[in-house]
């Protein structure tokens, strides 16, 4: 496993894949909240599977722009990290988005959902632990 993992501080710290992964998660979380707000404000009376009627909303455009930006940071992540590692660590959005939906949109989180959030965090911890151990002692 050692040979596939990058050093903790590459030449440029800004390009550190873990910093870029953090930025990606923040961007995606903000984007999803904005998209949801924009989509709700423009929801049509009848179901429209492609969601085209959401396009006039400004929040939708800002959300989409943040998603595009997050593609950029995500590419910087994938340049270095194997896909399975990057993708599973990015699952932390399943914690940040429900929590922000609760804080910002007032959506409910019942106990079962909190349990799921805890399981996601435990899984991420298991995956992240050997990575951080390798990086502390290269």
């Amino acid at each position: 496993m050692l040979d596939v993992l990058p050093p903790l501080f590459p030449v440029s710290r800004l390009l550190n894949p873990y910093l870029q992964l953090f930025l990606t998660v923040v961007l995606v979380t903000i984007a999803e909240i904005l998209l949801k707000q924009g989509a709700m404000a423009s929801a049509p009376a009848s179901v429209d599977w492609l969601g085209l009627s959401s396009l006039p909303s400004r929040r939708v455009w800002v959300g989409a722009a943040l998603l595009v930006l997050s593609s950029g940071t995500w590419i910087l992540v994938l340049r270095v990290l194997p896909l399975y590692l990057a993708f599973t660590l990015s699952s932390v959005v399943h914690v940040t988005i429900p929590v922000c939906s609760w804080l910002v949109l007032g959506e409910q989180i019942h106990p079962v959902r909190w349990t799921g959030i805890a399981l996601v965090l435990a899984g991420i911890w298991i995956i992240a632990r050997p990575v951080s151990r390798v990086e502390e002692h290269p």
Partner: protein
């Protein structure tokens, strides 16, 4: 939940996973010496196409369901993606990582139970 809605939600996750496999494959091709330019353009283009379709489907779901009910379906994607990364990209996945991925997927399914 109707069958159509369910299969669209699952199809949406497959689309997301496939797009990520395209992107990582394009990055791998770009990292070769010399870089395989045609391949990077092809798979980069496939990534953009898959993401665009995914985005429009996603907006459709957000219009009719609460975000905290749409998002949990992404729980399928860690498992689908890791299988894809192992099979198509030949990434080595440790036993510990499989345990973590199972926990994440189980967690995301629990988040979706309402």
């Amino acid at each position: 939940m109707s069958g159509t809605l369910l299969s669209l939600l699952i199809g949406c996750q497959v689309l997301l996973v496939v797009s990520q496999l395209f992107l990582k494959h394009a990055m791998n091709l770009a990292g070769r010496t010399p870089p395989a330019r045609a391949g990077v353009v092809l798979f980069g283009g496939l990534f953009v196409a898959a993401m665009t379709l995914w985005f429009l489907l996603w907006m459709g779901f957000l219009q009719v369901m609460p975000l905290s009910q749409v998002l949990p379906w992404e729980g399928l994607s860690p498992v689908l993606l890791v299988i894809g990364a192992a099979v198509f990209l030949r990434e080595k996945i440790s036993r510990e990582a499989w345990i973590g991925i199972s926990l994440i997927s189980a967690g995301v399914v629990l988040v979706s139970v309402s």
